[in-house]
């Protein structure tokens, strides 16, 4: 079964322990969505995925990984 995993929590930690609220604000979503993403309970749209990657200044693949 295919699954999309992410490193959002790790990247937040690496970026001066950025808060979920701050990431949400900069990515243009709610904190609840960041929580759901970190828990692997929500797969974002391409647009939101790019926005999150842009906040951390990394490529999409460094944030999200597609696993089969």
């Amino acid at each position: 079964m295919a699954k999309i995993k992410n490193r959002i929590r790790r990247l937040r930690f690496d970026n001066n322990e950025m808060t979920q609220e701050e990431l949400a604000k900069r990515a243009g979503c709610t904190r609840q969505t960041i929580i759901a993403l970190e828990q692997g309970k929500y797969v974002p749209s391409i647009e939101l995925a790019f926005k999150i990657a842009r906040v951390f200044g990394v490529s999409l693949e460094e944030v999200f990984q597609y696993e089969e």
Partner: protein, 145 residues
């Protein structure tokens, strides 16, 4: 709790209170003929007819206008909740049709008051079902992803 989730919860509570109040008014007044007898009952119904869509519209508008209150995940849940909304309205109309047909079949006519009651009940059940759909959507998403 997400802002939309909070609003859905408030709407559900308000809707339930409104429903119980309306049922209580009709029960206290006796039966459906109170609608014809007592103008106050009619005015209450008319107030509901105008007030519910107005409040619902304002609440929806306020929620959807604030960009940081709602994001793509919330919009997905709203979209899914509309299914619960129209299903609830359809089932309600089916229930009214069957009930009124069975009760008034011999008389071959239905009291006019039921027109308003059917409309009011559809008006109340619609946002109620949507709120329930939204809350269920969040619950499902948090549970299963």
């Amino acid at each position: 709790m997400a802002p939309l989730q909070k609003r859905a919860l408030y709407s559900l509570v308000i809707g339930l209170v409104l429903t119980i109040s309306l049922i209580a008014v009709l029960v206290i007044q006796g039966d459906i003929t109170a609608f014809d007898r007592d103008p106050n009952v009619r005015y209450v119904m008319y107030a509901v007819l105008i007030g519910v869509p107005l409040v619902y519209g304002i609440l929806c508008d306020l929620t959807l206008r604030k960009p940081r209150q709602i994001d793509e995940r919330d919009r997905l849940i709203i979209e899914k909740s509309s299914r619960a909304q129209w299903l609830a309205v359809i089932f309600l109309l089916v229930a009214w049709t069957i009930a009124l047909t069975e009760i008034y079949h011999d008389e071959q006519q239905v009291p006019v008051a039921f027109l308003t009651l059917i409309f009011v009940s559809a008006l109340i059940i619609s946002p109620l079902a949507q709120s329930l759909g939204i809350l269920t959507g969040y619950w499902r998403m948090n549970r299963n992803g």
